[in-house]
Symmetry: C2
Subunit: 400 residues, 2 copies
């Protein structure tokens, strides 16, 4: 009886927040209300749809300006960006890379592409991301600082990189992580795929570490269809990434010559055109998403057994994907709640299965993951598209 | 004096073929005269710009139908398609893959991505592609057929795959290559990146081997901005490639779970939309390109020192990039010819630097490469866009 009440109250609260809709309401749908048409049309009219063209340069410039980094390189997706970032941090055969157990699979896969091994780290409830204090004590146990890097005494391999991920747009506590990395001689690559528009202590996420990664997948706050970017404050590194991801071709009027194993990771101009138009709307998207988050927060405030997740106190989040946290006592109701939501045409989702539970990563090194495991049982993502902040509109876009 | 005459005669002949233009005439420029804008606009209007959407399915179906294969999987580019194809053929650490020395660098890079080593093979002048007779005698020397594969006695590693590449759209002599592969227990992956619309003995290229690869880069006969595809006649393999290139996510209403290391190699719907419109124009493009090739052939027929390269007699080529072959006695005039062409606003280009001359591949195994080396000195690509077949138009598109 109490159980049914909780589910009904949550669904009721969400329906009160959302505008009316006769189609399923997706988790995060793109919205094209600005110059998307104009810019894409220009690509088709001029023939500049591929890897060269003004929108690629413009998109990179506007990304760098918005996030405050020195250089942005637009790439084909966030996974490619992670791969090249880890390569640049020197990850090679059997090297370990510390990634949160609670992340999207691309973070771990990119390590594997380099020949390395993901090493899974626990989260803290305040940020959903890597717990710096717990990581510090874990490194104290397993790590030995050597001249050639941070040696894992337990596995006999080197820990080269830590990849903090800003989960659902909420910034990790980066300062203590950066201190830890410095102390142990470990590089940091920020996985900011979900945090465009999110700030840590007033500075945009993606400004720490050797470089960082954005995603412009169709479900992100800004989309290019498929796309991603590397951000860095090291201009030389930025130029190198641009070169290597464009097949490492030596510039020449007609000769075709390459001087290293490069990648074909460039973002086409037609996708960058979409990105340029979307970036013009980003401030408006962020504003709407904060309104939506406040509405959810208010709607959930008096429901016992569940809480709305709020940005950490040191952060200003983009609230990319809003989420509820079930109380421990209510986790057995999660699947019934998801079922009920689908019946009501509201798309809701649990968090990704934790990385160490996936068959290909089950034997990878890991620390105690009790907080991530608790969060895995309790997180429920709820619809978060910016347009949902507007009560007086009807939803007439299809769900993506 | 004679030298100057050759250069002048070649440039003059090309200018006679080409329509008037006050912009540089590129090697191969996209042409969007059909439904490109309608389909792309539909993506933007409905919000379906990313990895799901009807144009991806439609593009895959139309590719399979046009080429006559059982299954096509649309991917983010041809390099990604080569990578997943080689993975599926079992290429792993230190395995050798035989690729032509005369190819675009992606063919060799994709081998490296798998941890393998490219092994460079000579071309024949008739096709510009792998010389089957020469490869047969080379394999006779170095290879030992073992239960677990084709062993290279010289290097101590296994030769897993041969990758014939249909250079500039002209089909390799595939039948004897397929026989060789069968005899030695080597897989074949066709690099058909340049040969959409090219037929070998009446059958579309890309139908041989375990699978094959297309490219839809901006300079290809059909473009999606950036894009590629795997073609295969093994439907189970096709489904597996589709699954692995879409992050290997197990289908579920809400759970996010992956069961193997997958890739984010999907083609976005907005790029597939462009591809669907372009495929509607392919017959017209092919027709125009044959007209252009005939014009070039006629224009070059009485110039001593140079010849226009014609499709092999067993093939019907798409004539993707037209090319001239300088006589051996005239190779010292190549760079002057390229210089003169650029002065006349005509983009011409030598072939790619041969793979074994690139610093990252200089120590890879290779056979005698004398024909490829001769071709490298003698090939000159000339403008090949379909619209150039129309004498009565003026070129008003920018060069890409």
């Amino acid at each position: 009886m109490r159980e049914k009440l909780l589910i009904e109250r949550i669904i009721g609260a969400i329906r009160d927040v959302l505008p009316e809709s006769d189609r399923p309401v997706g988790l995060h749908e793109p919205y094209f209300g600005g110059n998307e048409w104009n810019y894409v049309r220009e690509c088709i009219d001029t023939g500049w749809v591929s890897y060269l063209g003004k929108f690629v340069d413009q998109f990179e410039n506007v990304l760098a300006e918005f996030t405050g980094v020195k250089k942005a390189v637009a790439l084909v997706n966030g996974t490619a960006a992670l791969h090249i970032g880890l390569k640049m941090a020197g990850v090679g055969y059997k090297d370990e890379v510390m990634v949160p157990a609670l992340t999207f699979v691309a973070t771990a896969n990119a390590v594997t592409y380099c020949g390395g091994t993901p090493h899974f780290i626990d989260s803290e409830e305040k940020t959903l991301g890597i717990n710096p204090a717990k990581l510090a004590s874990y490194l104290g146990e397993i790590a030995e600082i050597r001249d050639d890097g941070c040696f894992n005494k337990k596995t006999g391999h080197y820990i080269r990189v830590v990849v903090p991920m800003h989960t659902f747009g909420h910034p990790v506590d980066i300062d203590p992580l950066a201190d830890l990395c410095r102390a142990y001689g470990i590089e940091m690559i920020e996985d900011a795929a979900e945090s465009l528009g999110s700030y840590y202590k007033g500075r945009h996420t993606g400004n720490w570490g050797k470089c960082s990664v954005l995603s412009f997948n169709g479900n992100k706050i800004v989309t290019t269809g498929g796309g991603g970017a590397v951000l860095t404050n090291d201009e030389t590194l930025g130029e190198k990434i641009k070169y290597l991801t464009a097949t490492a071709k030596i510039p020449h009027r007609w000769e075709y010559r390459h001087d290293s194993v490069g990648y074909n990771y460039r973002l086409p101009n037609i996708n960058a055109a979409l990105g340029c138009a979307q970036m013009e709307e980003l401030h408006s998207f962020l504003e709407k998403k904060r309104i939506l988050a406040s509405k959810y927060e208010a709607a959930m405030s008096d429901i016992e057994g569940v809480s709305f997740f709020k940005e950490p106190d040191f952060a200003r989040s983009n609230y990319w994907l809003n989420l509820l946290l079930l109380d421990n006592a209510c986790v057995d109701q999660r699947d019934k709640l998801l079922e009920a939501a689908h019946t009501h045409n509201i798309i809701m989702r649990p968090v990704w299965t934790l990385m160490h539970k996936l068959p290909m990563y089950k034997d990878c090194p890991k620390m105690d993951l009790s907080t991530a495991e608790s969060l895995e049982r309790r997180i429920i993502n709820i619809p978060s598209s910016p347009k949902l902040a507007l009560q007086d509109i009807r939803i007439d876009k299809e769900v993506s």
